[in-house]
């Protein structure tokens, strides 16, 4: 253990009601959301994200129609929690400033504006408005493994200049190894304003969720995303109850009760899973080939429909250098593969 790690204070941000919408095909019920949010709140988790898996306005043919609207989900959860704050994700190009205003009016405290790691300048409208509205404003740079650290910092500086008070390095593909995380987080910490916070969002496709999150904390990240029971896209997010326990062992202060969070994962989240969240062959491919984790179920469905291999579809999506949001290309790829089958 690094001597500087103990006595650190970090914010755990739970993803199971947003990223967890992906493996649930956006069908989590209001009651499930409320019971999980209540459990997280009582365990002391300070920040909980709630929306469609693809953020505000994500309801679509392309990403899936949710059981309820963002408004219904947010209203239900915000009315349920006592201490925890609620965050909402927004991807410019999918959601708009109207969604942002709606979220603010509903009582969302944190807006996370997400772009592909090279495209920060599409977030100016949204970040500057969120900041103006007095929201905790986060710039969320997705698929950050695709960009070298120095270039990632340039994009982070743009988001900071628009008004983001926190910048995330987001490992959407679960591709990064601890050294990749360290290189990025260290340089972000060095180059951003001292009062700009740094966060890390991991996926567990190579089982690196905990190791990568620790690497991030070691290099100065103070917000760590994870998901109770790991419920999230691909092989899930960093399992939050496990990371929390590790933090307690290491003396990192999360303010979250180890056993109560473990109870939420075991008793509330695991029972709602449609399939176990685990590193199956397809999830391994996501992490190994650097492919957006949310593609997983779309690839499985297209594979079944067109009689081709789901791992082959994901590898092709990686070869095409697709980015988050290009779910539409999965059926296109599957049709081409079926046509060209020997």
């Amino acid at each position: 253990m690094s001597p500087t790690m103990s006595a650190r204070k970090i914010i755990l941000h739970d993803m199971c009601l947003r990223d967890g919408m992906h493996p649930k095909r956006h069908q989590i019920t209001l009651e499930q959301m409320q019971s999980i949010a209540r459990g997280l709140d009582e365990a002391g988790v300070p920040l909980i994200e709630v929306t469609h898996g693809d953020g505000l306005g994500g309801a679509s043919v392309n990403y899936g129609f949710p059981l309820h609207t963002d408004e219904e989900y947010l209203r239900a959860v915000i009315g349920t929690v006592k201490r925890a704050k609620i965050s909402a994700l927004l991807l410019p190009g999918i959601g708009t400033v109207e969604h942002l205003r709606l979220a603010k009016d509903l009582g969302v405290a944190t807006i996370r504006v997400a772009t592909h790691c090279t495209e920060a300048d599409v977030s100016e409208q949204h970040i500057s408005l969120a900041r103006k509205l007095g929201l905790d404003t986060v710039g969320f740079l997705m698929m950050a493994h695709m960009l070298e650290p120095a270039k990632l910092v340039e994009q982070a500086l743009l988001m900071e200049s628009y008004g983001a008070n926190c910048i995330y390095c987001t490992d959407s593909a679960g591709y990064m190894l601890p050294d990749d995380v360290k290189a990025r987080i260290s340089l972000l910490r060095e180059r951003l304003q001292p009062d700009t916070e740094i966060g890390f969002h991991g996926h567990h496709n190579l089982a690196m969720g905990i190791a990568n999150s620790l690497a991030a904390v070691e290099c100065g990240a103070v917000r760590i995303d994870g998901s109770a029971a790991g419920l999230g896209a691909g092989a899930g997010n960093t399992p939050l109850e496990v990371f929390n326990a590790v933090c307690h062992r290491m003396g990192i202060d999360t303010g979250v009760d180890v056993m109560r969070l473990a109870d939420v994962a075991e008793e509330l989240v695991t029972p709602i899973m449609d399939e176990p969240i685990r590193i199956d062959r397809d999830s391994l491919v996501l992490g190994y080939a650097g492919v957006y984790s949310s593609f997983l179920l779309f690839a499985k469905r297209a594979a079944a429909k067109y009689g081709v291999g789901s791992a082959d579809i994901l590898i092709e999506m990686g070869r095409m250098k697709t980015v988050g949001g290009q779910e539409d290309m999965i059926e296109d790829v599957a049709i081409n593969m079926a046509r060209n089958k020997p």
Binding site: S60, V61, N62, P92, G93, I94, T96, V97, E98, H116, T118, E119, D121, V122, E124, Q125, H126, M320, K321, T322, V323, G325, Q326, D328, M329, E331, D332, I335, N336
Partner: protein, 306 residues
């Protein structure tokens, strides 16, 4: 033979410059001015090389020359934010405006769907929706002319290099304006638009996916025929407009997978999003040109006075 009418191009970025290259070949439109704000603009340099007059003073630098140079039509390729002011100034000067920003002040024009409707209407401002709208609304219309479309959604994926600062600052206007166009021109009861920027190198050719949800079971044969016919219509002015896959039928979902390769006039061929926009704008202007030349728009500077 139609008389060429004099035109001003406002905006010297990717779209304005590509439009200029196409307009130089037009039998109806004569590009005379290009307006910019950046003296170092590559577009302005190219415009001067092709004999156009240029200003770096924005629209105000053009205003004193409208009458003397008999400018009858202007194309705005700036951004939705500045279009409102540009539109007002051109309207006051009696210059017809073709708007390539997503400002959507004037009625939408998607040529293969509703160009003819704009004839004889004397509209002083016609809006070209968005690049994604030009690429996808014809497909929505191709389905909705067969049977009712309750919902249509489009996903436009463009190469990062083909999205200039205007598009990036305007990303909400893109989704909003495209969604409105899907409804009002495409004929869907409800529309949604998604745009994705992809930085891959070499850059990807523009891809567009159109998902329609029909009210009743889709008539597969009629929709497939209608889509193919519409593809041919678009190909008349954008030869690189291609049906890659589909229509795919899955319950009431009809999905159409498109690729749009440009002519490579200014940016390389991958930037089909620029090409379909500028080609559509020019086609619209060419259709209106004879009416404008005949003085149907009541300009303050009729041709005889120039």
């Amino acid at each position: 033979m139609a008389q060429r009418i004099n035109a001003a191009l406002i905006g010297s970025g990717n779209i304005g410059t590509d439009l200029m290259m196409k307009a130089l070949r037009s039998a109806e439109i004569n590009p005379v001015w290009m307006v910019g704000i950046d003296p170092a603009s590559d577009g302005l340099a190219r415009a001067r090389a092709h004999g156009l007059k240029t200003t770096t003073e924005g629209v105000d630098g053009l205003l004193p020359h409208l009458a003397t140079d008999d400018i009858r039509i202007a194309f705005d390729a700036t951004s939705a934010y500045v279009h409102h002011e540009n539109a007002r100034k051109m309207r006051e000067a009696g210059v017809v405006m073709i708007d390539l920003t997503p400002a959507a002040i004037g009625p939408f024009c998607v040529p293969p769907v509703n160009l003819a409707e704009h004839a004889g209407r004397r509209e002083m401002n016609v809006n070209m929706v968005t690049c994604g709208g030009q690429a996808t609304i014809p497909m929505v219309a191709a389905v909705s002319r067969v049977q009712q479309v309750d919902y249509a959604e489009i996903v436009a994926t463009v190469a990062s290099r083909s999205a200039g600062p205007g598009t990036r600052k305007n990303i909400d206007e893109f989704t909003r304006t495209t969604a409105h166009g899907i409804e009002s021109v495409g004929g869907a009861k409800r529309g949604k638009a998604i745009i994705i920027l992809n930085p891959a190198e070499p850059p990807l050719i523009m891809r567009d996916t159109v998902h329609c949800l029909t009210a009743t079971t889709p008539n597969q044969q009629a929709i497939t025929e209608s889509v193919k016919k519409m593809i041919a219509e678009v190909q008349r002015y954008v030869p690189g407009y291609t049906l890659k896959n589909g229509p795919v039928f899955d319950g009431n979902r009809v999905s159409i997978y498109l690729e749009v390769e440009g002519l490579g006039d200014y940016l390389p061929k991958y930037a089909g999003n620029l090409d379909i926009m500028t080609a559509a704008a020019l086609r619209t202007a060419e259709m209106l040109a004879p009416e404008i030349a005949a003085g149907a728009y009541g300009q303050t500077n009729p041709q005889s006075g120039a």
